[in-house]
Amino acid sequence: MNSQPRAIRQLAGRAVAVRGNDIDTDRIIPARYMKAVSFEELGQRAFQDVRFDPSGAPTDHPFNDPRYEGASILLVNRNFGCGSSREHAPQALLRRGIRALVGESFAEIFAGNCTAIGMPAVQAAPQDVESLMRLAEADPAAELRLDLEALRIEAGGLAFPIEMPEARRQVFLAGSWDSTGLLLEGLEQIRELAARLPYLREFPYPPPA
């Protein structure tokens, strides 16, 4: 785990589309794979229960399609990553080789988790997401170029605007997505604030009985 700043301004790669609204984090990584004290093994389990049918045979899920092996940009629809706060979900995608997500919208905690591990999740208009999905489906070798400075995505001669909360964009441009170091720089101010808080000063928790 590298705590040195590493800015993320532009990203390029092939894309894979996983269609559907409200894809929850249980779908991205089933709970049974969270019974581990590390994230190491998660990459191979991404979308496990939709990649295999009950008999264990592979489905037509795009993550099973060899043409998308090595794809690093995940295209999704609305409210992707809803439900459980498990960071295991973006960790599974990251360890599978995904480096950025482009979608209509993202659940709040999921987007925060993506940011915390250096994987931008950016929004695009529904019709633009549809165009990008069609492009990736028609031509799996097509390269997408994501530009967080210009807030633009380019592919196959097309260019679309993208959005993300400005503070989150600044995190990637500054390379401060691994936030512990940045937060610790405020240690003196943390102490000052703690000294002012009524519940720490006037009515702290009584010692455990």
Binding site: M1, S3, G20, N21, D22, D24, D26, R27, A31, R32, M34, K35, V37, F39, V50, P54, R78, N79, C82, G83, S84, S85, R86, E87, H88, P90, S105, A107, E108, I109, G112, N113, A116, I117, E166, A167, R168, Q170, V171, A174, D178, S179, T180, L182, L183, L184, G186, Q189, I190, L193, A194, L197, P198, Y199, L200, E202, F203, Y205, P206, A209
Partner: protein, 467 residues
């Protein structure tokens, strides 16, 4: 114009504006559990960092704990390893751990309020999306991921963007047999599972004022199912009476100081809001979420929707829901045959939930084909239920009475669905595979409705079973 509670709490806890434009927010209470914390502690060790405020950090074990009273070591070596990791991390960092032997173990969102740890005006973080629960006390409670757990452990702060606030005002009285669970399922059905993105929900109005704390906890718990990371109710006399005398609540002079702070932190009468929504409680029926997200819910008198009758943006989800569940559009939701009934979870595993369910099952029998479980949310809930004789009522009816834990809410412990079983569940998520079987089907409802379904073997209107 006045300020709302979120703005007051946020301002009070803002350490500084970060160069990125995010706020560095101090966290007054950090709750941790076995699933999302071990990797965070590992990151601390790699960086040689300590826990900054161990006295504001509390741990329990809930997700992986077997509920059949199994002794240590757990039969599942992976679960045992997670438990040992949490015990070691708590010990090494001087963090209070409410383990199974402490008498205070339970689901993290049940024990925080019942121990008096969750208080008005606090910022609360936990590596669990249902952290929104604690907002019922008038706190700003935020679900976070593991890297953010690391941030809170090391710095007691988080880098966050302040959410907007939507005031949700509910008026009118709930009919008999209609509960807090039905309100939040109705709200999510109306506002959508993504309707709360970017928002905190402030729940208000006479219906909320009249609610008990346990009812408020149920509503705030499921804010996240509507896309709102934060949900809260302004602190009032109900809040203060609930907290008084709890183990970690202030006492004596400290109590008076706390009361002054708590009263001042509530939203001003003329507070500003980014959005408003109103709902009439009197018109709410017992709700059943039939599909694959909690927004796909109908009243018990209704039929399952025809996909083509839904707004365009909901049709694709509805088609996927029918493909998974095999239910037929247009059939009444009442009468759907069930295989399993589960009463428990951080949404509905508290004493009042068990009482309402017991009221339905008393003197009745669980249908012969139904496997039925009651799982109290904590040791303290279990003890209180025992004092009232609830376990006997459930056992006589054919329910299993279990030990506290997350149980069948999610597939991380031995309590799981098998195959295509249909479960009437008082939990919070009906996502595909959520209850541990990739083909399993979950119907979300209130504990009383789950009890009614257990007895009938089918989804049934609980209003017809209680006098």
């Amino acid at each position: 114009m006045g300020a709302n509670l979120l703005d007051k709490v946020w301002d009070l806890h803002t350490v500084r504006r970060l160069p990125t434009g995010e706020d560095q927010l101090f966290i007054g209470l950090h709750l941790i559990h076995e699933v999302t914390s071990p990797q965070a502690f590992a990151m601390l060790r790699e960086r040689g960092l300590a826990v900054l405020h161990p006295e504001r950090t509390f741990a329990t074990a809930d997700h992986i704990v077997p509920t059949d009273g199994a002794a240590r070591p757990f039969a599942d070596p992976l679960a045992e390893a997670m438990m040992q990791a949490l015990e070691a991390n708590a010990r090494d960092h001087g963090i209070s751990f409410f383990g199974p032997d402490s008498g205070r173990q339970g689901i993290v969102h049940v024990i925080g309020p019942e121990l008096g740890l969750s208080q008005p005006g606090l910022t609360i973080a936990c590596g669990d999306s249902h952290t929104s629960t604690h907002g019922a006390l008038g706190a700003i409670a935020i679900g976070i991921g593991t890297s953010q757990v690391r941030d809170v452990l090391a710095t007691q702060t988080l880098a966050l963007i302040r959410p907007k606030v939507r005031r949700i005002e509910v008026r009118g009285r709930l009919a008999s047999g209609v509960f807090a669970k039905d309100i939040i399922l109705r709200l999510i059905a109306e506002l959508g599972v993504n309707g709360g993105l970017g928002y905190a929900y402030e729940y208000a109005g006479e219906t909320f004022q009249a609610m008990t704390m346990e009812e408020r906890l149920t509503v705030c718990n499921m804010s996240i199912e509507g896309g709102a990371r934060v949900g809260y109710v302004n602190p009032d006399e109900v809040t203060f009476r609930y907290l008084e005398g709890r183990p970690f609540a202030p006492r004596g002079e400290a109590w008076e100081a706390a009361l002054g702070f708590w009263k001042g932190i509530a939203s001003d009468p003329d507070a500003r809001y980014d959005d408003r929504f109103a709902l009439d409680a009197g018109r709410i029926q017992p709700m059943v979420a039939w599909g694959i997200n909690p927004g796909q819910a109908v009243g018990i008198e209704e039929v399952l929707p025809l996909p083509e009758s839904l707004p365009a943006e909901h049709q694709e989800s509805a088609l996927r829901a029918y493909a998974h569940t095999g239910f037929q559009p247009g059939t009444p939701v009442a009468g759907i045959r069930i295989d399993v009934a589960f009463i428990g979870s951080c949404t509905n595993g508290r004493l009042s939930d068990l009482r309402e369910a017991a009221r339905v099952v008393r003197g009745r029998r669980v249908a012969s084909w139904v496997r039925a479980l009651v799982v109290p949310g904590s040791r303290l809930v279990a003890q209180a239920a025992e004092r009232e004789g609830l376990p006997g009522i459930f056992r006589q009816a054919g329910f299993q009475w279990r030990e506290p834990g997350c149980s069948m809410c999610l597939g991380m412990n031995p309590d799981v669905l098998a195959g295509e079983e249909v479960c009437a569940s008082s939990s919070n998520r009906n996502f595909i595979g959520r209850q541990g079987s990739a083909r399993g089907r979950t119907l979300l409802m209130s504990p009383a409705m789950a009890a009614a379904a257990a007895v009938n073997g089918r989804v049934a209107d609980v209003r017809e079973m209680i006098s």
